[in-house]
């Protein structure tokens, strides 16, 4: 191994670690306030003679759960200490950091595109098509995409609409929009879990860690260095995306269900915490999805076809998923997997 190669690996490793730590930080940072109890009094208010009693109530060591004749959730809680923390998380952390995260990811993609441009095929398209995704697989994918984006957009509107849309639509107009978004988000939310299960069942078998995935990762999928890295049907990057989508989606679904079925009598704290997880994970998944979209469309030449027509060029397969190509080729004997379709060949060139 040459020095040059070694240093490249080291560099890739560094980048991977820094990305990973950034991700961890994004996830963990907002949680810090929950670990470190905040005793910050909201200052600057009109003098309230009850402050002392309230403070006593707030500073008790054990849970101050009083009794009351009200039957509603948490009615016995005199001071919802958690509320301020939650507010702080949502307004000071989720909103700005989420926007920043999405902005940064988009900027990186844009930068990458501008600097490197789309990944070209290493050899000319052969014109020979090879089936990458069956109709069923594509249906599952697009079904998930539709639900995901419905939820992501409505969710983002609820999170950022107050800052972005109210100036445009006005309070009343946005109220209607937001109301529709909320209803759509809550009604379609649970179907996302269905999509997620289908997605999982459909693709899990090809997304299990295989030999070579680590190498692929170390090489940054070939993106950073140039030159393709050997991969199976799905490369390690796609596999990571798959698991982010599945695990993230699962977290979103569970927390979402907790929020949507408030009839079960869960406390405000549980719901608030669910909201925190829901928000963080949603923004992370959305941000990562930008990368996926980029790579599936403009980022890598010839990829889009796999999810539209279901077919890719043999050249594409050879260069990006050589092991998968080899498998397909091996299985091809006796079967008719490769179809000659002139119409498609031209598309591959474009």
């Amino acid at each position: 191994m040459s020095d040059k190669k070694q240093s490249r690996i080291r560099r890739h490793r560094k980048v991977a670690y820094s990305l990973l730590s950034l991700l961890v930080l994004t996830l963990v940072l907002p949680l810090i306030p929950y670990a470190v109890a905040e005793k910050d009094e909201t200052a600057g208010k009109v003098f309230n003679p009850g402050t002392e009693l309230w403070r006593d109530v707030r500073q008790r060591d054990r849970d101050v759960i009083g009794t009351t004749q009200m039957k509603s959730v948490d009615a016995g809680v005199l001071i919802n200490e958690y509320g301020e923390t939650w507010r702080h998380f949502r307004m000071q952390q989720l909103v700005p950091y989420g926007a920043a995260l999405m902005g940064i990811v988009l900027s990186i993609i844009l930068l990458f595109y501008l600097l490197r441009g789309p990944l070209r095929l290493q050899e000319e398209p052969s014109g020979k098509k090879i089936e990458r995704f069956t109709v069923f697989e594509r249906t599952v994918h697009w079904f998930t995409v539709a639900i995901f984006w419905l939820l992501a957009l409505t969710g983002l509107i609820l999170l950022y609409g107050r800052f972005v849309l109210i100036p445009i639509l006005g309070a009343d107009g946005f109220g209607i929009t937001a109301s529709a978004c909320k209803e759509a988000h809550n009604l379609f939310g649970p179907t996302f879990l269905v999509a997620l299960v289908l997605l999982f069942l459909t693709f899990v078998k090809d997304n299990i860690y295989a030999r070579g995935d680590m190498l692929w990762l170390l090489k940054g999928g070939g993106m950073l260095g140039g030159g393709h890295v050997s991969a199976g049907r799905f490369n390690a990057g796609e596999k990571i995306w798959f698991w982010i989508a599945i695990i993230g989606g699962l977290v979103l679904s569970v927390t979402g269900l907790i929020l949507v079925f408030s009839i079960l009598g869960q406390s405000r704290e549980i719901m608030g915490l669910s909201h925190v997880l829901h928000g963080i994970v949603a923004l992370v998944v959305i941000s990562v999805s930008f990368g996926h979209i980029y790579l599936g469309t403009a980022g890598v030449e010839g990829t889009l076809g796999s999810m539209t027509t279901g077919y890719v060029d043999e050249a594409w397969a050879k260069s990006h998923h050589d092991r998968w190509y080899a498998e397909v080729k091996a299985a091809e004997d006796g079967s008719d997997k490769i179809v000659d379709e002139p119409g498609l060949a031209t598309e591959g060139k474009s």
């Binding site: 909201t42 600057g44 208010k45 009109v46 003098f47 309230n48 003679p49 009850g50 009693l53 109530v57 101050v64 009083g66 009794t67 009351t68 004749q69 009200m70 039957k71 509603s72 948490d74 009615a75 016995g76 809680v77 005199l78 001071i79 919802n80 200490e81 958690y82 509320g83 301020e84 939650w86 507010r87 949502r90 307004m91 609820l158 999170l159 609409g161 107050r162 109210i166 309070a171 009343d172 946005f174 109220g175 937001a178 109301s179 909320k182 209803e183 809550n186 009604l187 939310g189 649970p190 929020l259 949507v260 079925f261 408030s262 009839i263 405000r268 719901m271 608030g272 909201h275």
Partner: protein
């Protein structure tokens, strides 16, 4: 600018729930929605105290801060109100409120809570004062009639005070002076009699 505030004097609150039903009566709030509630801490133990809680009309209201549709507003009297035509019933104000003030008329699947409802300091809402629509959506508008909230006006022991923060503080200060002098006087007399140091619950039934 006036700042309307509630203050509940725990030394006087006897958990009679008069404020709760006064509110129900005045605003015809439906079953399950409690704009005001009384919470007792250390129930049945020495030091038991009760407090009547509702929207405290915070100066920097967390509900208003987190509302995704920005439906809250503060009146010139410092009363925090909201617009039910804009409210989407997301429940965020409920998570953020320190006092558990926001209430929702329904509890259905798919988070169908209905429009949020909370104490208005008996000041109605953004609709024309004392219109039937305002009454239906927000309840009474006593402030427009020159009255204070029904809960405080009807408090059995005058424990719950409502009004301009300065005046409420003033009333309470007077009470505190009274109590301090009482405590001093009583303290001297009672200390030698072993009382005033709290309530002894040890006297138990022997059987």
């Amino acid at each position: 600018m006036a700042a309307m505030k509630f203050y509940c004097d725990a030394e006087r609150c006897i958990e009679c729930n008069g404020c709760v039903t006064a509110c129900k009566n005045e605003n015809e709030v439906p079953w399950g929605v409690n704009r005001r509630r009384v919470v007792t801490i250390k129930d049945g133990e020495p030091g038991e105290r009760s407090l009547s809680v509702a929207c405290m009309h915070c100066s920097d209201a967390p509900c208003a801060a987190v509302c995704p549709v920005d439906c809250f507003y503060t009146t010139d009297d410092g009363i925090v109100l909201h617009d039910k035509d804009i409210c989407i019933g997301c429940g965020y104000c409920f998570y953020a409120c320190p006092f558990g003030a926001p209430q929702f008329p329904k509890e259905g699947a798919f988070a169908s809570r209905g429009k949020m409802d909370k104490c208005t300091f008996c000041a109605g809402g953004p609709l024309p004062d004392n219109s039937s629509e305002e009454y239906r959506k927000y309840g009474a508008n006593r402030i427009a009639e020159g009255k204070l909230p029904a809960c405080a006006e009807m408090c059995a022991t005058k424990a719950l005070l409502a009004g301009d923060a300065d005046m409420v503080a003033d009333i309470y200060r007077k009470r505190m002076v009274n109590r301090a002098s009482a405590a001093l006087g009583k303290g001297f007399q009672l200390r030698e009699q072993n009382i005033g140091s709290g309530v002894d619950l040890k006297g138990k039934v022997t059987n």
